[in-house]
């Protein structure tokens, strides 16, 4: 029995990381109807930037985040303003092709500068520390921190969207960009802010990912799939939905992995297919 409880707990905690991967994807799609195929590669890029900051500046991983996140925010803004804004149109194919191209560029730049070796961000033993919560049951400190971060960021985003002037502008632009412009909103700037936030979150997610596991330049597309699955399982309704989607995906993978160590990812895919079949709008779709 404990081994299943343990699996669920581990799944929930890893789901927090998946949610961190997924939030920006959901945000960019929600505001701009833009599907960022390079999202997973940007996670890996942030892992590498985190690694360079940790090794180059000799910082602890959490201190490194304070460097990586601002870099990620700026990259997101520049990417949107400089490239992606020019691809936004009624035809979603243009942004798909361009972000697919960006994905390939990131992978190849990383291969060129870092070779295909797998790397890891070391965190002075944090990755192996755990807290006992019951007999035969312990949770890793790092997964707990990741999950808590995911919950805080979800609450933060929900607050930003629901209760601030800039959040109102995001929603208004998403509803009707033409009418938003008549209110004085510079859509190009609003879109760039949205992408800055989306990629800024990846600054956190990328460093966590590098601390949790090894990574290599071509790992991005697999992470993109997890992010997609979390968004779709959760439904496009709210950031809490995306968090729930990540958690459900994490649980499915953890349970699958307990049945057979090779089945973790497969179990995630199966659950995703089941959601598509029986709840195609996800568990928390937009209500209006």
């Amino acid at each position: 029995m404990t081994i299943w409880i343990d699996a669920i707990i581990q799944g929930v905690l890893v789901g927090g990381l998946y949610a961190l991967f997924a939030m920006g994807l959901s945000l960019m799609f929600g505001i701009m109807r833009l599907v960022n195929v390079a999202h997973g590669d940007l996670v890996i890029l942030m892992s590498f930037i985190g690694l360079m900051v940790v090794e180059g500046l000799g910082l602890q991983p959490f201190a490194a985040m304070a460097v990586v996140v601002p870099i990620a925010l700026c990259m997101g803004y520049a990417l949107q303003r400089g490239v992606l804004n020019h691809t936004i149109s009624k035809d979603p194919l243009r942004s798909l092709i361009v972000t697919f191209g960006i994905s390939i560029v990131i992978q190849n730049l990383l291969l060129a500068f870092h070779s295909a070796d797998t790397r890891a961000i070391h965190s002075a033993g944090l990755e192996s520390q755990s807290l006992p919560i019951a007999e035969n049951l312990a949770v890793g400190v790092l997964p707990v921190i990741m999950f808590a971060t995911a919950v805080m960021l979800t609450a933060g985003l929900q607050w930003l969207f629901g209760s601030t002037r800039i959040g109102r502008a995001f929603r208004a632009t998403s509803d009707d960009d033409g009418a938003a412009a008549l209110m004085g909103i510079n859509n190009a700037h609003i879109y760039a802010l949205a992408t800055a936030i989306a990629i800024g979150i990846l600054g956190v997610a990328g460093v966590f990912h590098g601390m949790r596991t090894t990574f290599a330049p071509t790992d991005g597309p697999a992470l993109l799939i997890y992010a997609f699955q979390a968004v779709i399982i959760g439904g496009m309704g709210s950031f809490w939905g995306t968090l729930a989607g990540g958690v459900l995906l994490g649980i499915a993978q953890a349970i699958g992995a307990r049945i057979d160590p090779g089945w973790g990812v497969l179990a995630g895919h199966l659950m995703f297919v089941a959601v598509l079949l029986f709840k195609p709008n996800g568990f928390f779709p937009k209500t209006r």
Binding site: R168, R171, A172, D176, A180, A181, G184, I185, N187, R288
Partner: protein, 233 residues
């Protein structure tokens, strides 16, 4: 007295299709000018050209003595021109109050506030938490007008605010508009209903196929003149 806003040989295109063929127009401060014309005459296109939704040449539009033609829409609001767009275009995922707040996004200083808009349209205060698009047509139009006022404009532009509304509701909305303009706000009103247009405005332009076919004081124009200008020969 010089014009608050004027256009000079204003032309506008949708791709290769020319919709306006040199419109000369002016409105003085505190004036209410109506624009009438058949479907497709170019009234909305004219408003889009003024508000920066469609690109035009700089000197084509002059506001307070400065050329503003070709300026992007989001910068025109900051100059003091607010539009109540055709079809209202409220933001569906925003509540009534949030829709109104969006009008204040440009942060132009001035007399308008949520309280003042609720004073003008008390029903909106009761419904302020409701999604804007859940209201009746007339109430939605009130939100659209209130939203435009929240930007503290010097020039208010209304595109067919009576479209699809019941006569009593139209009366109510125009009564509110009269209260606003009595306080000195300048307004351009596009209106399909000629009688309403004549009644609320001091001067009137009639558009036909992208050109001005008639202009004059609303009181002085005869029905023959107007129907001739409206439908052509």
């Amino acid at each position: 007295m010089s014009a608050l806003l004027s256009t000079h040989a204003l032309k506008a295109w949708y791709g290769d299709f020319q919709a306006l063929f040199g419109i000369d127009f002016e409105i003085r401060a505190q004036e209410i000018v109506a624009i009438i014309g058949a479907n497709g005459a170019g009234k909305s296109t004219f408003l889009k050209a003024i508000t920066g939704v469609l690109p035009v040449a700089p000197g084509n539009v002059v506001f307070k003595g400065r050329p503003i033609g070709g300026r992007k829409a989001h910068r025109v609001v900051a100059e003091g021109i607010a539009m109540v767009p055709e079809g209202r275009r409220l933001f569906p995922s925003l509540s009534v109050e949030e829709n109104l707040c969006m009008g204040a996004y440009a942060k132009r200083p001035g007399p308008w506030s949520l309280e003042k808009v609720y004073g003008l349209f008390p029903v909106l205060k009761e419904k302020r938490k409701v999604p804007g698009t859940a209201l009746s047509g007339g109430q939605q139009q009130m939100v659209a007008i209130g939203r435009a006022l929240m930007s503290n404009p010097e020039l208010l532009i209304c595109d067919e605010i009576s479209l699809g509304l019941a006569p009593t509701v139209i009366k109510e909305i125009y009564a509110a508009l009269e209260r606003i303009t009595r306080d000195g706000l300048t307004a351009i009103i596009v209106e399909q209903d000629v009688l309403t247009a004549e009644r609320v405005s001091q001067r009137l332009y009639c558009f036909q196929e992208g050109r001005v076919s008639l202009q004059g004081n609303s009181r002085d124009l005869t029905h023959e003149q107007i129907s001739h200008a409206y439908f052509g020969v």
